[in-house]
């Protein structure tokens, strides 16, 4: 029966040709192969976000008077609403984590080098979009923490010289964080960002598909010296089945987190209320937040905070253009890129932990 349907479709659409590349796609097998999984897991978590996000849309109402209550309604009255909402929140956080892990694995395995510069750039853009999802989605329950995190976050964007103030007005939909901001963020979160992400994911995956999997230079060298060591695995079904196992593990972990630690709803935002002590951004913004706190108020004539924010922007831009700085070196000299990668990783970890612990 199934075969008949497939044949019928194949006759008309030539699915064979479409699926052909996947038949021949292989994945190099070596001791670092496990890092190939993170991109796939991130994609899977994104699909979960898509599904749970659509489900949440059935009951969520954007608006300063209704947002908090509608989320409360979802987690209290709607059957399994707590589960859907918790999975959406947890999956969002895990997705940021796996995306960052994917980024660092690509960095350390040097998979960004020629000819994969554009893959790296689209990946970085995707990471920024994921953070944009996190930032905009965080406000949607309209609770106290989100309200102040958004106030502070958009305030920082407003510090950029010249274009800062227009950006702030654009983000907030006015000079202050109000219901208008919520409406905007809702629009970004469910329409603008998903649209951009779909396009970028398509491009990103197309690049990966065209270029095949990168083999780390070290492994490549070993293989060149001893071709008998070269191992490959068919993408389908061998790697796909393993990826599926990883996805199952991910969804199991999500279930455990959502059921044992349902995401807190907090208290409704009160724009006139005092900011609670120790308001902090989401953990994935913590290292930046903590860095900005370290910068003195004034450096020469320039405002410290402005400098910090500009610095963050410059670093992000340089990081995105990283592949173009890693030129092949003669004589097998050690690239300084690994050093930078380790420094960045240690810096992010230390400042995140510090930001978490610091008052």
């Amino acid at each position: 029966m199934l075969k008949k349907i497939i044949d019928w479709l194949d006759e008309r659409l030539h699915l064979d040709g479409l699926l052909e590349p996947f038949r021949h796609k292989t994945v190099p097998t070596h001791k670092l192969s496990c890092w190939y999984f993170f991109g796939g897991i991130t994609l899977f978590l994104f699909l979960i976000q898509l599904l749970t996000g659509i489900l949440l849309l059935l009951y969520y109402k954007p608006g300063a008077n209704e947002a908090f209550e509608s989320v409360q309604y979802i987690v209290t009255r709607v059957q399994f609403g707590w589960l859907i909402r918790s999975i959406h929140s947890w999956s969002a956080n895990l997705m940021v984590f796996t995306a960052v892990a994917h980024m660092f694995s690509v960095l350390f395995l040097k998979a960004y080098r020629k000819p994969r510069e554009l893959t790296w750039i689209t990946g970085m853009l995707l990471l920024f979009l994921v953070m944009g999802f996190g930032f905009s989605g965080y406000l949607l329950p309209w609770n106290q923490l989100a309200f102040f995190a958004t106030t502070v976050g958009t305030q920082m964007a407003g510090q950029v010289p010249l274009i800062g103030q227009p950006i702030l007005i654009f983000l907030r939909g006015g000079p202050e964080v109000t219901g208008a901001t919520l409406t905007r963020f809702f629009g970004f979160h469910v329409a603008v960002l998903p649209g951009l992400v779909f396009v970028l994911i398509a491009i990103h995956l197309f690049f990966v598909q065209r270029q095949g999997m990168s083999v780390p230079p070290k492994v490549e060298k070993e293989w060149e010296q001893n071709p008998s060591l070269r191992r490959e695995m068919k993408f389908f079904p061998n790697f796909a089945l393993r990826e599926m196992m990883a996805w199952y593990v991910a969804i199991g972990a999500l279930g455990v987190l959502a059921a044992l630690f349902p995401w807190d709803l907090g208290v409704k935002a009160d724009p006139f209320g005092a900011a609670a002590a120790g308001i902090k951004p989401e953990w994935y913004f913590l290292f930046m937040y903590q860095t900005l706190k370290f910068i003195p108020a004034h450096i020469g004539f320039i405002d410290g905070e402005v400098l910090g924010i500009m610095g963050c922007g410059v670093v992000a831009l340089l990081w995105m253009l990283l592949p173009f700085f890693d030129r092949e070196r003669a004589g097998g000299k050690k690239s300084w890129m690994t050093g930078i990668g380790i420094f960045a990783l240690v810096y992010v970890i230390v400042f995140t932990v510090y930001g978490y612990v610091a008052k």
């Binding site: 670092l32 192969s33 999984f37 008077n65 609403g81 859907i84 109000t178 208008a180």
Partner: protein, 154 residues
Amino acid sequence: MCSENVVNPEPVRRGLIGLFLGGGLLATFASFIYPVLRYFVPPQVADLGVDEVVAAKVGDLKPNASAIFRFGSKPGLLILDADGETYHAVSASCTHLGCTVQYKGDAKEIWCPCHNGVYNMNGANVSGPPPRPLQKFNVHVRGDQIFVSRNTEA
């Protein structure tokens, strides 16, 4: 998964794979789809929103009497004038220390028993400790239901 240890190829029975894989896939699919299907079922308690609640039905209140209703998580006070037609609705949380206020029909005033705070029918604080007026709500009668709503903020 990081280090692929080579397991000596061992003939695995088809049935065993089918049992675990088929059973596992089916069971997980069921356990994923079940909450989602239940999620689609609209809850019995209709979500009226918190900008508007049905405070009472016409006829529930006698003229010159009042009733407490729930507005979100806070109590509200609905008063029917002596003329039997005009309704007033205000927040029932005293602005002094948050006690629930009550309507005194004989004096036509709203009174907080905790420290003798007095408000007029419009919720304005008249005497006693209350520092601010009570929040005033809008009342609309539609059919036989009395809707109380608050002004929406921006």
